[in-house]
Amino acid sequence: MKTITADFEYFSAATAGEALDLLAQHKDDDYRIIAGGQSLNTFMKHGLLKPEIIIDIKGASDLDYIKYDDKEGLKIGALTTHRKLEQSPVVAEKYAALVDMEVNVASVETRNWGTVVGDIVNADPAADPAPPLIALDASVVVASKEGTRSVPAEEFAVDLYTSAVEPGELVTEIQIPALPANTGFYFTKYSQLHGDYALASAAVLLTLDAKKEKCVNARIGLGGVGATPIRATAAEDILKGKKITDELLAEAAQAASEATEPISGIEASAEYKKELAGTLVKRVAKEALARAQKA
């Protein structure tokens, strides 16, 4: 029943390099990195986390960027807030559904502080960014003093509230490839309240052939329906290489639903969430298809 945060030692980094130095130094200590603090503060206030050391990277302004070019795609620096992603003109132009995703992430106040990278590192399976990042085939750049590595978005969350980041490592960037021609991308979450965590969410990316008849690539990410965000590969395979019809979408939706492993909660049973995920996939894929046909 606590609302008071336990004491901790505090370090701040003014650059990504300083952050990596601090992380190397405290690699074996009980530390947490803070950027926006929107999840960490809550955990600490409830006594669920009591880190002895806080490493604050909020001052590392070299991590605060959104870059885009047609070759490399989109790069989102670790200090990019949800609000900045939401208001980025290039994101609106190239990945409009990410803006749709952002406007329903919590509240404006939370989006002003919370970072997209912090959100995925927190690895709440019901959080919003991971499913669209999976569908977009994004990768997460993880750095340490020893070097950097790249983790595919669908492998980044390894368990409930647990990411692939190892002690001493810092996520510096999310990379999203530029979308090929004839591609449509869409995302929807279902939550009872605006800005609430998803009961279920679905992101779908579809690429059609030059004649816009057959689906040449499909990627589906699901949120809120398992211990981690899920990539629904079986459902993707149903769509690939075929002309997408309502019947095929229903089949893919069923496969996506079967790929989920939700747990029952106050808001809804596992059974309901499973069905809801399928319904969302069907609807989101339909919209992604419409967008691909217009693209």
Binding site: M1, K2, T3, I4, T42, H46, S107, Y190, Q192, L193, H194, G195, D196, Y197, L199, I266, E267, A268, S269, Y272, L276, T279
Partner: protein
């Protein structure tokens, strides 16, 4: 007929910004939670982890040894006073300062600590070792009344806390004459008032005088004064309760609670001020909520839709203590009949003790669960009979002068004009519906203050003291409570109107038991009517004294009537002949041997039935769309046609109506308190879902004014009536669109989806 009529006033009925607005929006307003005193200690409560257990021993030595801890108390250190709101029946004063022999719910306090910081107090609580012997516990009201159920309180066999029987007419004959009879079962969910300011109190005991001062986030300083007097076995007059600004109560801050009692005990022990602030988890786990009810209603109608008989049985999950639950039980039995003419009626209600946190008087108390059941049942009956949902409400609507025998009488009543207005407006507003949309209705009525004296006061229900000073400044003293609903503004408006001065001439002194005459506080929408009458009475006395002096000064023909308005006293028919209020006050005080002009007004209802002197009424329409694949319900639009008598402050009424709808819609869509063996599963604002601005629909709000003879300037309640119709109107909208029927108000998507499928299966089965 009312002698007085609705008329044009200088202040009443004019949109008036909240007098506390600037202080609140700039953060200057002081709430108890903002307060500190020099030398203040921080208190914390050690609470039971068991729903029901014997206390074998409590070892506080480690806590006492912790540096910074100044006092640790357990049940044996308390004076042993029991307390509760139902003081008229002392056996229902069932709360202890700290549990002595056994704990009755998860969170029952067993010890309290005062320390120099809150952190140390928390650590000290963790060092208190309590040995418990867990006892079998009971959580469900139906189980609680079984013969072999564990007893929550030893003096209450079968855990029956209260029962109520209400009956009029000949119910069996009524059902025999009915063309159509249906029975429906409901199980409503508990919800929490979820006030933004948590329960918190600051107590300061003066060892020199033996007197105690308590600042608290309370709805009624007087109730708290009495509760503390009972708990601490102290004289009422030795306890001063001060109510600073309150971050709302919604019914959950009528009862005296362990924060005030134990802050006081710790202050008495240490001689230093002690503050106890609940955290949000404690707020959800251990403070009062709206009770769950298991209800069965039998309704008999003629084939044209006329109601001929109704029978209601309910069993309420009361929880560990009484609170205002016994009143809730009675009101459930009466409000469920409103606002309809029901010639033959029978009600049996039982409130059970169980090993959960207890339920009480949450906003719209007595009306919210029952109205969900009755209004959804009426909708089903109308559909079966092929009667239009508005028509069935209209033909059964109460009217001015309607009496439910021995229970209640509507004096003013604008329900029929409200329904007629709704008939035309709803067609204009929503001429065409989409395939996934539906419209649902629910009619409503709610009290303007209760005629209940469970608190057992010999004082008037409301009183006010008005004093006019030499510069014309008016001091208004009353114990009435502004808890965010805007009563400070209303009190100033009523006082200023009656005296004929401006709002800026009124200086408010509200909510301090040491300096004010008694008022029972803010609950049951009572302050406008009851406190308003007392203020108007006091102000009229002062005005009449001023008019006497004016009459002497002006030397006019005694046949002329004098009025006081717009800061002048003048001849009603010769307005140019008069005297400035400010000049008049100086003369009046001189003539009064230098003593400021005062009046003490009071109000207690007499011969007004069992419930209330007056009722706000009206009808609500909700337009909602339902996603038949996911069960998601979106409340798109709300239309309310409302009769609250003379509107005192249109801005305040709008705020109260919208606030009620917000709570009603939360009850309808997402608010609930699931419990597992007495443990509240969602004790935070992450998991306890409250609608935010973006979740609220547009609300169109039409006032149909009436003149209420019992209210000041013809006013009656506006703060609570519109909560109860919201959930059933929404459920009725979904029912009209999909045929789905609901046993509980909370329309979570899964519940809706199941109900849609059940309705479809039922249709196919036919």
């Amino acid at each position: 007929m009312a002698k007085e009529k609705l008329k044009e006033y200088a202040i009443i009925g004019k949109p008036t910004p909240n007098v506390d607005g600037p202080a609140k929006v700039t953060g200057e307003a002081q709430y108890t939670i903002d307060m500190t005193l020099p030398n203040m200690l921080y208190g914390k409560l050690a609470r039971s982890p068991y729903p029901h257990a014997k206390i074998i021993s409590i070892d506080t030595s480690a806590a006492e040894a912790l540096p910074g801890v100044k006092a640790v108390i357990t049940g044996k250190d308390t004076p042993g006073g029991k307390y509760g709101l139902w003081r008229r029946f002392r056996e229902l004063s069932d709360q202890e300062c700290l549990a002595t022999d056994k704990v009755r719910f998860i969170g029952d306090p067993v010890a309290a600590v005062a320390a120099v910081t809150e952190e140390i107090a928390i650590q000290a609580v963790e060092l208190i070792e309590v040995e418990y012997e867990p006892l079998p516990a009971v959580f469900d009201p139906d189980d609680a009344i079984e013969d072999d159920a564990p007893m929550v309180h030893e003096d209450f066999p079968s855990n029956i806390n209260a029962t109520r029987h209400i009956e009029w007419g000949d119910v069996d004959k009524g059902f025999a004459e009915a063309d159509y009879v249906r029975e429906d079962d409901y199980v409503t969910q508990p919800i929490h008032p979820a006030a933004l300011e948590v329960h918190n109190s600051l107590a300061s005991y003066d060892k020199g005088t033996g007197r105690l001062t308590v600042w608290s986030s309370t709805q009624s300083p007087y109730f708290l004064q009495l509760g503390l007097s009972d708990a601490l076995k102290m004289r009422e007059g030795d306890i001063r309760v001060i109510k600073p600004h309150v971050g709302s109560g919604f019914g959950g801050k009528n009862s005296t609670m362990p924060d005030s009692v134990n802050a006081a005990l710790l202050s008495i022990k240490t001689g230093r001020p002690v503050k106890i602030v609940y955290n949000r988890d404690e707020e959800f786990q251990t403070t009062e909520h709206r009770t769950a009810q298991h209800m069965r209603i039998k309704l008999g109608l003629k084939k044209d839709g006329q109601i001929v008989a109704m029978e209601v049985k309910t069993i309420v999950n009361g929880g560990a203590f009484t609170g205002l639950g016994a009143t809730d039980l009675y009101l459930t039995g009466t409000f469920i009949t409103m606002p309809y003419k029901i010639p033959n009626y029978r009600y049996d209600g039982v409130r059970t003790y169980t090993n959960t946190v207890w339920g009480t008087s949450i906003r719209g108390f007595g009306s919210v669960p029952g109205k969900f059941c009755a209004e959804t049942q009426l909708e089903r009956a109308a559909k079966d009979l092929g009667v239009d949902p508005l028509q069935i409400r209209k033909m059964n609507a109460v009217y001015p002068g309607y009496e439910a025998p021995g229970q209640y009488t509507f004096e003013s009543c604008g329900l029929l004009p409200c329904i007629e207005k709704m008939e035309t407006r709803v067609k204009e507003k929503w001429p065409k519906l989409e395939e996934d949309e539906g419209i649902g209705f629910a009619a409503f009525a709610y009290m303007s203050g209760g005629i209940f004296n469970w608190i057992d006061t010999p004082y008037a229900f409301s009183s006010a003291h008005v004093k006019v000073n030499i510069d014309g400044m008016v001091d208004l003293y009353t114990q009435a409570s502004d808890i965010g609903q805007g009563h400070n503004t209303v009190a100033a408006m009523i006082c200023a109107e009656e005296l004929g001065v401006g709002i800026e001439d009124i200086r408010l002194h509200l909510g301090d038991t040491a300096h004010t005459y008694t008022d029972l506080g803010a609950w049951g929408s009572r302050e406008v009517l009851m406190n308003g009458n007392a203020i108007k009475d006091a102000a009229a006395q002062v005005k009449n004294k001023l008019i006497e002096v004016a009459r002497l000064k002006l030397g006019e023909n005694i046949a002329y009537d004098l009025v006081s308005k717009n800061k002048r006293v003048y001849l009603e028919l010769r307005p140019e002949r008069g005297i400035s209020y400010y000049d008049l006050v100086q003369d009046a005080i001189r003539a009064n041997d230098g003593v400021p002009i005062t009046g003490v007004g009071h109000y207690t209802p007499h011969n007004k039935g069992m419930i209330s002197p007056a009722y706000g009424t009206g009808i609500m329409a909700v337009k909602a769309k339902t996603d038949k694949e996911t069960g998601a319900v979106v409340c798109q639009d709300i239309l309310v046609v409302h009769d609250c008598g003379q509107v005192i402050n249109p801005l305040g009424v709008r705020g109260q109506v919208e606030g009620s709808i917000h709570m009603g819609l939360g009850y309808a869509l997402c608010e609930e308190m699931p419990m597992d063996e007495g443990n509240v599963l969602n004790p935070s604002f992450v998991d306890y879902k409250i609608l935010r601005t973006r979740d609220m629909p547009e609300i169109e709000f039409i006032e149909v004014p009436t003149y209420e003879p019992n209210g000041p300037f013809g006013a009656k309640e506006a703060a609570e009536a519109t909560i109860a119709p919201t959930a059933p109107a929404l459920a009725n909208a979904v029912f009209q669109n999909t045929g789905a029927e609901f046993v509980a108000p909370v329309l979570k998507p899964e519940t809706v989806l199941k109900a849609i499928r059940a309705a479809a299966a039922k249709k196919q089965g036919k």
